[in-house]
Amino acid sequence: MPQREPWLGWIYVAPLLLVLVPFFVAPILVVIAVSFVESDGFGGIIPTFTLANYVGLFSAKLTLGLYLATFKFTVLTWFFSLVIGFWVAYFLVFHVRNPLLALGLFLLCTVPFWTSNIIRMISWIPLLGKEGLINSALLRLGVIGEPLEFLLFSGFSVVVAYVHQLTIFMIVPIFNAMARIDKRIVEAAVDAGASRLDIMRLIILPLSKTGIALGSIFVVSIVMGDFFVIKVMSGGGSASVVGAFYEDIGVLQYPPAAASAVVLTVVVTVIVALMLRTVDIRREIAR
């Protein structure tokens, strides 16, 4: 076999580099640089090296509060989208016998995603409001005497909107992972006397791990990096990490906002790295 030219490798990665360097590496370097300078209070920066932005960030109780609030929504959204996504994928792969029908049903799952995220979020408001459909129905049925206020402008409505928006990101990779499971393994397990729980625990779950990890990465990084759903669905009653530094940008305080963004990037990177440690994505995908 002839020795591969060293430059050939560079050609292979060139397209990716062409996208990543100008659109990811360069901007993030700028953000990192700005996070170490001082703000002049009028949108300008004073080019002196300072750690003040980070010191301010780590010494504020607010930061902890913001992260706790964001983690809360992340974990809840992750949990519900995983439970729903897993069972939908499981049903499609193992219970729908006709592959064409399974594919059709799978595509059906994507139908709600043909409209914009924002519309799907906003349409919950008339449903969940004090005078919304659910409250009016319950009131008329006499189930409740007072409208349920927790339905809207609450943590509940934030999670509902996120789960509605993000479950598809769980379904797709889990469906994909499950579809690769050789059905004969399941049959063999049944023949060997395995219970349904054993099959789930020892075969399906381990073999769907990649899908679960991929889906989780999507969901977690999207929720951690979002502020709009929290802002609208909590009725402004809850804050988020991104929401807080967006307010800084609103008054042109770029350096503290940049420091916040850098810290968030590091946090999300660590979380994603931990998730990746649970599965070897490369090997699993090549499987």
Partner: protein, 444 residues
Amino acid sequence: MVSDSKSSNGNSISPAAGRKRGVSRRAVVGGGAALIGSAAVPGAPTIWAQEIKDIELRHVGVSYSVVKAIGDQASKDLGFKVTMQNLDTSAAINRFVTQPNTVDIADLEGWQSKLATKRGVIQGIEVKRIKEFDNILPIFTKGEIEGHKIPRQGISPYEAMYIEKPDATELHEGVTEWATFLPQVYNADSIGYRPDLVGHEVTEWKELLDPKFKGKAAILDVPAIGIMDAALCFESAGLISYGNKGNMTKKELDFTVEKLIELKKSGHFRATWTTFDQSVQLMAAGEVIIQSMWSPAVAAVRVKGIPCIYAPVNFKNGKEGYRGWCNGMGLMKHLSGKKLDAAYEYLNWYLSGWQGGFVARYGYYSPVPSTAKKFLTDAEWQYWYEGKPAPSVINDPYGVAMEQPGAKRDGGSFVERVTNISCWNTLMDESAYMNKRWNDFKVA
């Protein structure tokens, strides 16, 4: 939400739109443009018409101030294209500062004009070139009206109005030949409430804090102005007296935010709102019955047939008063030559009345009421500016009936409302700290 709605009006050269401005240059241009190619038209206007027809001015700002219908009318009247682009307050100022060349006319609030001046992204407006400048109300040009000194809490438009030289980066105290921005629309903000559910007349900010309205009140969630609404409430309730509500000290900020957190924890606020539409929805859907609000939002609730009143919060015992705001147009630094000329044409058109009439129909004011008056019916003038009972049905800017005969504008006449402004939208010296504390309130 950041939305960029672009308007366009391509074929804008129409025979001089029938407006009563005497034989203006525009009229000549309109006629000339129709005859391009014919040698019969004498030199100058044709050249001007040909040169300006390719000009496009991008007027960028918030949706309640930069309105597509106004841009369309300007394009029609002026013979060149004006494109209106909308962004939210924070996205707008960020764009002016970081991408100044993508904007021609920046729509600025007083405090934004101060920022833009500091950053050197705008150029001074030569006052002499503004035809109606002397007719602009002295609220803006001199900081007073009818002998009443306009309060300087926050950043009043007058304070942000002048610079000494066209390229100065510091505001100047007192009248000069150069303006930072040209005021175009303004109002006095207070509380909106549902009279049917509140049950009595509201004339004081402290009503917003009344425990009776627990779980049914809302406040504006734009930190810089939300905190001022909160301050007006706490001052009205006698909890604190501020040195300057528009430029609080750290201690005052702490007090204000702690109080807000207390209220939030007790479940006082049903929600906070950021956009005009949200405030309308909150009120119309019965989620809240009292909240800090903007005038057209109150009108929008009323158009739905739901009673809603804009509380008149006239000064009382040195407390209360409206929170005033004003948007004006700034010329970006990169404008020069023909484009700068066109920009001045546009500024002059803006103050010539059509726009003043348009915004009056949703409750905002023009800095040159004398020209706006020509574009309003007598009934509209009496209702919106004089605070008299409407002699006939009052329509909104798009022709939908809004008020029945006999209805009176909340808060009374123009003069009564503007002389009761107690503070102006602002950017505090401690804005970074204020933001942090506001987020403490949000996350609590």
